[in-house]
């Protein structure tokens, strides 16, 4: 039982990072139709900034906030400077995001270096819950993610902005005709998604080492999660993250580890072919004919 | 040799767009389909042209059953449709738009001469002479409509399904369009058209078919149909 709970927390902490990325991807695609290939790199940059700040002496949680701000600004610049021009042609935006991802990876290599980065466990404690030892940091990752998910979810379903956002996802033109500043929402969603990616990166480096190429590993899982959950569907992204985390945990425990990635890839291909809007209900994107 | 539609039914999920429609269209004639928005007119075209498969019913063309065949096959058999939104290959030149259609439409087969010597001839016929090199995407709407007709002609049709060809055109342009459409029966091309402009429909069409909520509620010569109380009731407030 103890091992199971520990495994559960472990898997959840991994799934948390994926969920954070997944939410960003699903919101951005659902609203703007932008498939941002560089989203994984946003996470990686968040992790790198965290590493940099922590190794310069800053407290982890302050560094975490710093990373979130940094990546948020990065996302803002990317949206305003690049993706904004391709809203009519999402394909171009996608190809541009490939360029952005390449640039970010190699700028990071330039500024830091290729070697993997890691930070010591920021909390370093072990909590004893109900007689079971749980690594505090992992639990915190899960808790923080849960808070973010709850905030996002209620924000979208209850607040004025959230409702306007969902309207825009459902029918962009009508929303615009009703006076919703859709473009500003696109920017807002993009920044929000980037901030979440930064948070994900910071949390990730608290748990695992990261390299400049970590982004491309994570993004596939992020896409898988958004597709399973349905593009534009936040709750679905969470469900998708949990499902994928479960699959991962099982495959690590019982299957062969090399094929772990393969499972999410196959799942993605199947979903893309059979139900492109996602499993649990979502959108085909704002320009779907 | 005709188009025979029997009991055509099309459901989209819970919505019944066509509720069992019977229509016969002889060639070399102009038949009109009218009805309020949502009555199933475009759906009828879509099903006949192969864009959608009917839920039930049959479409016979020249004696052959073409129900449910894919759109490109039906086009090659001589039924060519135009679209409500003026469609074109936007990034290609006007001439290429027409040329592509002529290379894929109904084959001329055997010893039959092609009707047209070149895409430019078709362009001249619809009033786009000299515009062959223009990019289709940069043309004004009226010309786009003409291009749509040119493309359809280039595909060597026996029957043209024109979906709201007058929508968005000025009075002059509509008059020109009417002149153009009147030529088709003499060229051996039957026409079936959908539109809301009652003057156009009553002048051009020998016969009108009226749809409402996916069913045919009237059929006959325009003067009779447009005075039929069932029809005027459906079109309350519409000037004829």
């Amino acid at each position: 039982m103890e091992i199971f709970i520990q495994q559960l927390v472990n898997s959840l902490s991994v799934a948390s990072v994926t969920i954070l990325i997944g939410i960003g991807i699903t919101l951005i695609f659902g609203l703007a139709g932008i498939v941002n290939f560089a989203h994984g790199e946003f996470l990686m940059v968040g992790g790198m900034i965290t590493w940099f700040l922590v190794t310069s002496g800053l407290n982890f949680f302050l560094a975490l906030v710093g990373a979130m701000i940094f990546v948020g600004v990065l996302g803002f610049i990317a949206e305003r400077g690049l993706f904004r021009f391709t809203l009519e042609q999402p394909m171009n935006g996608f190809i541009m995001s490939i360029g952005v991802s390449v640039i970010l990876q190699h700028v990071v290599i330039r500024v830091f270096n290729e070697v993997q980065k890691t930070i010591p466990d920021p909390i370093g404690k072990v909590w004893v819950v109900g007689g079971i030892d749980i690594i505090a940091m992992r639990a915190i990752v899960v808790l923080l993610t849960a808070v973010v998910v709850a905030t996002t979810y209620f924000g979208i379903s209850r607040s004025r902005y959230g409702i306007a956002l969902r309207a825009s996802i459902a029918d962009q033109d009508t929303a615009a005709l009703m006076g919703i500043p859709v473009r500003r929402y696109v920017t807002g969603v993009f920044v929000y998604g980037s901030v979440l990616a930064g948070l994900g990166g910071a949390l990730m480096i608290a748990l695992f080492p990261i390299t400049p190429f970590t982004g491309s590993v994570v993004i596939i899982r992020g896409f898988a999660v958004s597709l399973i959950g349905g593009l534009g569907n936040v709750g679905g992204a969470v469900a998708g993250g949990l499902i994928l985390g479960l699959v991962d945990g099982l495959s690590a425990g019982y299957g062969s580890p090399e094929w772990t990635d393969a499972y999410s890839l196959v799942v993605m291909i199947v979903i893309l072919i059979v139900r492109p809007q996602g499993l649990l209900g979502g959108t085909l994107g704002p320009r779907a004919t | 040799m005709a188009l025979q539609i029997t009991g055509l039914r099309k459901e989209f999920g819970g919505v019944v767009a066509l509720a069992g429609v019977d229509v016969s269209i002889e060639l070399d004639r102009i038949v009109g389909i009218i009805g309020p928005n949502g009555s199933g007119k475009t759906t009828l075209f879509n099903v006949v042209a192969g864009v959608h498969r009917p839920t039930s019913g049959r479409v016979l063309w020249q004696g052959k059953d073409i129900t449910g065949k894919p759109a490109y096959q039906i086009a090659r058999m001589g039924i060519v449709r135009t679209f409500q939104q003026a469609m074109s290959y936007r990034g290609l030149s006007v001439r290429e738009n027409v040329r592509i259609a002529s290379e894929h439409g109904r084959s001329y087969g055997g010893a039959a001469r092609p009707k047209w010597d070149s895409p430019d001839e078709i362009l001249a016929f619809v009033g786009l002479a000299g515009l062959g090199n223009e990019m289709a995407g940069s043309m004004p709407f009226g010309n786009l409509r003409r291009l749509g007709v040119a493309v359809a002609l280039a595909a060597n049709p026996l029957l043209l399904l024109l979906d709201e060809p007058a929508a968005g055109l000025s009075e002059n342009e509509i008059a020109e369009l009417m002149e153009l459409i009147l030529r088709f029966p003499r060229m051996g091309i039957g026409v079936c058209l959908i539109d809301h402009d009652m003057f156009l429909m009553s002048t051009l069409c020998e016969r009108l078919v009226v749809l409402n909520f996916g069913t045919k509620i009237a059929e006959g010569p325009p003067t009779l149909v447009l005075n039929d109380p069932k029809v005027t009731e459906v079109y309350l407030g519409n000037e004829i």
Binding site: L82, T86, V100, Q105 | -
Partner: protein, 360 residues
Amino acid sequence: MNETPHFPEPAPPVGRRRDIASERPVTPPAVQSEAKGRSGWVKLPSREETVVAIVAVVFLVGFPWCNPGYRFLSLAITTGFTSIALYGLGLQFGQAGIMSVGHAAFLGIGAYTAAIMAGRFGLGFWVALPFSALFSAVIAGLIGLPSLRVGGQHYIIITFCFCALLNIALTNGGSFTGAATGLDVGSIDPIFGINFDQLRNAYYLVVAVLLISLLVTYLITNSSYGRTLRAIRENEALARAVGINTGLHKIGALMVSGAFAGVAGVLQAYYLRHISPALYGPFPSLYLALMVMLGGARLLYGPLAGAIIVSFLPEILKLDPIDSRIAYGVGLLVVILLLPGGVSAGLLDIYRWLLSKRRR
């Protein structure tokens, strides 16, 4: 039969934009009659195109005579077979509008097929070449089937996933695929007494295949088949409405693209003499997409230009691999935002602008 219309001529439009992809000579084209759907008429090259072609051939053939040295000659060979793969991608994207970020997978299929044929069955280069091309084409066609159901962006992700899956399969393929270490490949059997271990001969072999690729690309682009693909790219619904079997043509374009990549893969395998899964993963695929966008997918020399820029510019500017990749990324952004047709389209526009200035 043809009556002259008697309604007024439409007013001449303001400003003429030129459609680069479909410039036609002055003589009116003929409409085909009986032979429907075959390659039909191929537009003959204009004077300018012929001149450029001659220059290109002279440049390609004459390159080794400029004493480039071992390094540049090897680089040229690599650029050569990369271009061949790019021409495939250029056809499927530039003509049919189907982008892929998994193209390296087909290079891999070609390369591994050749390596396994040589290693296990003792079949050499000359047999592997057509067979790998065919095999890659078939797989490309199969992978292309989803493109008939889903939109462009979704399909791109599918291609990425397929490439990643293939990578995993190759890495875990045990002794059959050589696993992560990969496979060794022998040398090309000499024909007509030409020994291809000599760098210069290898270069000419690649150039020969490249020229064939250029010719095939030209023929496809300027024939009815190319027009059909462009119609599908521009407006698929309209294409179906005029009788085009869009599904068949899309799969066909993807198969041709796969064949090009397969051929390139065989050349690569026999040149490098050792292949491994890392060469054919998602990253290389991304770089291929990048190269074809940079150079321009629609013009005849676009893919070649893209490959040359990406391969040679860092050498000439003495950029290290990291800076050069940053440059590629930036270049891609610039191209998408400012020069959507790629460098080749940009050069063409400059040429036309200069020409129009001269005519004043």
